[in-house]
Amino acid sequence: MPGSHWSVREAVTRPGLVGGRSARAGREVDVRVRKRFRDGDPDAVRVVYRAYGALVYGVAFRVLRDRPLCEEATQQTFLRAWQAAAAFDASRELGPWLATIARRVAIDLHRREAIRAAEPLDTAPADDPGLVTRPLTDAVLEVWEVRRAISTLPNEQREVVRLQHFEGLAHEQIAARLGVPVGTVKSRSHRAHRRLALELGHLREGNHSPPTGRSELQEAAR
């Protein structure tokens, strides 16, 4: 086992390794980390997991909708990535590659479970991963991109977005839940959605380039 030349703490605080003060989801890890990940260095594995673990888990959840299976899929994704890392070009981003592996692992697990359950085809939902792969690919990429964009938000903005969309609360209800004025919720919400729209390329005007890695994700999924 190769020795560790830097700690996880150092890796998440040194600029250039995972991009600054926090291991933001989907933030690209440094080429040195990728090389050490390839060697099975525990610190590098941890850094890569912290950068991508939640994204991989989200992709698995989109396909499997079952927490124990998602845990299995996440672990398998990283293990397969490590096993295949020798063939990976360390100068490229890990994210799109991991997203592709995660999608495949999750679909494999889904098929395995489907075979075990032996459900009749006519009871399978229309978006069953075993039946429809192309729309699922798009949906998986969407989840990956949206999670990555959400991870760029400050915590208080992220929570407002979560309460609004996931829990379906109105601004007044969010204000009551968080114990802040409605005006604060509205301004956080507006800033958050502006940022999301920019990150995800949903604004029409100005120089809004697609998010980093989007084209690579689509390429990798083909």
Binding site: M1, E71, Q164, F166, H190, A197, H202
Partner: protein
Amino acid sequence: MSEDDDIRIGYLAGEANGSRPAGDGADLDELRAVLASPAVWVQPPASLEGETVAAIVEAARLRHAARNAHGRQSRRRHGWRVAGIALAGTLAAGLIASVIGLGAGGKRPRTEQLAMVVSGTALAPSARGTANLTRTASGWEIQLSVAGLPRLAGGRYYEGWLQDATGERVAVGTFNDARNVTLWAGVSPARFATLVVTVQRVGADPGDSRVRMLVGLLGTRRHRRP
């Protein structure tokens, strides 16, 4: 930021005055649907990081060990060529001695026993114990005795595996408590020299979960008993 952008943000944010952009609001509806999806918000359990790291670290260790074993075999092959003639002579002498020994009433079958120390992985760093392997007519009996592993129940259980240098594995039995358990192997530990204990889950893939709790390698203790 244009007025059109403001309208789009207002619609996305569900603001009171955020009317749906005329003609091209479908992409925003799609984004709103994704934002409402649990897949976007669900978080992995904290323990998964440690399990994933442990699985990869253990896999790396085994790969490293397999490469070392391969290197040792190559060196041994070289050494054997050098000592080939002398070794052949020794073997011939040993064979003659054995035949003489058996002929002199040594018909009692030999019981071959192997032993190893097993220790916990990063998932169970305090776990430690021994495994004694005894060749029987039915196969290899493995007596595992380990302290420091929690008893598993509720759909989770331990599974023992023997693994060879290429990573191929053979299951040797499942159990809940590792303090005193008997496992059975139908393969020779001469080739499958590594004992691995994983945590498995009922209903999950019956194959190796790769969540390894214990590892032991033959060669830590060995004796033959007449």
